[in-house]
Subunit: 343 residues, 2 copies
DNA sequence: ATGCTTTATGTTAACGTACTCATAACCTGG
DNA sequence: CCAGGTTATGAGTACGTTAACATAAAGCAT
């Protein structure tokens, strides 16, 4: 019984040795042809390529990775692919990865179970990844104590800074300052806040930016409302405010969807936007869904965030290796849901 | 100079050999401990585990894959991650993969370049994948002639059937029949169509369903309108119809976003929905973005689609290997944008 | 012709893992 | 006290690739 079965049956994938045998050359010559290296006779090259074609040769990722120790892929761990934040993260990282010829190895953690960074890291480390990216949309229980695996770049996408891990995120605190300053400049002071669920890291920082803006100007802060990011929750909050707060002149909703709901509620309650109440959101996510989107909002450059995340997870040769905290500023987009307050 | 450098420097990843040397056992014993195999002395096991811990051992994905010829990952190739269809595909497949302990290797093709199935397959084949899934949202130039790589499961997510490749998709033709039948039952006949861009496969089948429904009832078909899936394009189409067609009683928009835009346009032009005109969409995608979503639409079970795609791309042992064409039916969701036509 | 470079090709080793087989130590029952 | 088993461990090998080195042939200047 031959140790290496002749591969006519197709039971085993076609390797370079199979091609070499078919073309009557050494396996190393096949490798040279496969990688387009020089010093191969043109006639030989064609013979080898013909054999590759005929046998359906597919280079072994495992063999290659084992050999040169790199996977050309970056691991991405998120808890729910469909959440707007995660989706845009995937998109940004995917295009950054493509620019560098890398793939993304995506693992979705259970949407329901709580997930620890240690657990996520453990799972990702068993996969073909040169770096690990973890989206932490809610604070992990082991965030403070977490130590990244040595020898593999790790980046957490979150606003919280960490002493031993590089963190990257859009500036979910700064976006609030942009919006609040815009409202202050128009003359608003009574600015209510409709936030997302309080476990959300994005929410925590957006709310902190709202609160700090008011405190810095010594404006008394009314109770923030809590939604669930959906337009319906924004509607409910907006209705509540329309009914209970006739002193407010502006609403800051922590995302565009809730802002859109809030606007609908205000109008249903006889309040005009922006004449009676100004409304702002964050994300610039409505365009596809709403005609004539007029919402003043903040847009983040998600591709830049993707690039930053990627570069730090898979550092180029000669990178410093110091852990940093990168916050990418958003850009204020003024449309027509904000105006000077009524006098 | 030692051939295998002692790994104090940490230049090379820690291998089982390193752990074995530290624990004073053979590499094979380390393998047994790592995989939880029996016949290891409890004391030895603990010694090995301690060494693993101390050195930070991470099992080599490459070595393991090379050894047993499987990657436990499925390749997914899409052209644009953010498109609603692709996003939901990723989500569905991700959860199916998780159920089977697999990861997803995601490759985003250039959004601008036209992409061929051969090119996509070639790129995916060089990655650590046990199966290949290609999202074909527009007809690839080589669709007819395409032959999948032998020895690796291939699935194309599209409505077009293929003689040599399994194709899976939500039933973008059947959804039209569901909606049209609903409108017919209410008494509508003059039903206009606002489609997506004509290169979109989903659009082609949704439109075909609209056309065939009318033809089957011998209803004269008015010219379909073409949008770009966005609410604004739906608004423009809706406005055009409001101004030019006073005989229509219903609009079928090929997705919810355009339907939402069309509704806004109708109302801006003094037409009531559903009293004057009924409107339906597809996807059930508005809930997060619009408060009090009342749109009659079709919802697809995207997780089921993800499971089907996954199962056929990475067949279990004992699968037939026959190529099939699977179309997963949607479900009609009747809300309040449809009613009997005015008499 | 002789030595030197260039070109084409082959040989060997190494990457990390897990399977198969071998071996040694330890039991257990007669 | 030995045959027959069980348990713990190690040795060897193969998976497919590429880098480094080796060899052989051919061209070319002296």
């Amino acid at each position: 019984m031959a140790r290496r079965p002749s591969n006519d049956t197709g039971s085993r994938p076609v390797s370079m040795v199979d091609v070499a045998r078919a073309a009557g050359v050494s396996q190393q010559t096949v490798s040279r042809v496969a990688n387009g290296l020089p010093n191969v006779n043109e006639q030989t090259r064609q013979r080898v390529q013909a054999a590759m074609q005929e046998l359906g040769f597919r280079p072994s990722y495992a063999g290659r990775s084992l050999r040169d120790g790199r996977y050309h892929s970056v691991g991405l761990c998120v808890n729910d692919v469909t959440k707007f934040g995660n989706l845009t993260m995937i998109d940004g990282i995917a295009s950054a990865a493509r620019e560098r010829g890398c793939a993304i190895t995506l693992v979705e953690m259970s949407k329901t179970e709580e997930f620890s960074l240690a657990e996520a890291t453990r799972r990702m480390a068993a996969l073909p990844v040169d770096g690990i990216i973890i989206g932490m949309s809610r604070l992990a229980p082991d965030f403070e104590t977490f130590a990244p695996l040595p020898g593999i770049g790790t980046v957490i996408v979150t606003m919280y800074a960490h002493p031993r891990v590089t963190t990257v995120d859009s500036d979910h605190y700064g976006c609030s300052l942009l919006l609040m300053d815009h409202l202050f400049e128009l003359g608003h002071e009574q600015i209510r806040f409709i936030g997302g669920p309080s476990f959300s890291v994005d929410e925590q920082f957006r709310r902190a930016g709202w609160r700090d803006s008011l405190e810095r100007r010594h404006i008394k802060m009314a109770e923030p409302l809590e939604g669930d990011w959906s337009a319906n929750s924004g509607y409910e909050a907006g209705r509540y405010l329309a009914e209970h707060d006739r002193t407010m002149t502006a609403i800051y909703a922590a995302n565009d969807q809730m802002a859109n709901g809030a606007i609908a509620a205000l109008r249903d309650n006889g309040l005009r936007v922006p004449e009676d109440v100004s409304v702002v959101g964050v994300d610039d996510s409505l365009d596809d869904f709403v005609a004539h989107n007029e919402l003043t909002t903040v847009r983040f450059d998600l591709h830049q965030r993707g690039r930053e995340v990627f570069e730090h997870a898979v550092p180029k040769a000669g990178a410093t290796g110091k852990t940093v905290a990168i916050r990418i500023p958003g850009k204020l987009i003024v449309r027509h849901t904000t105006a000077e307050p009524r006098v």
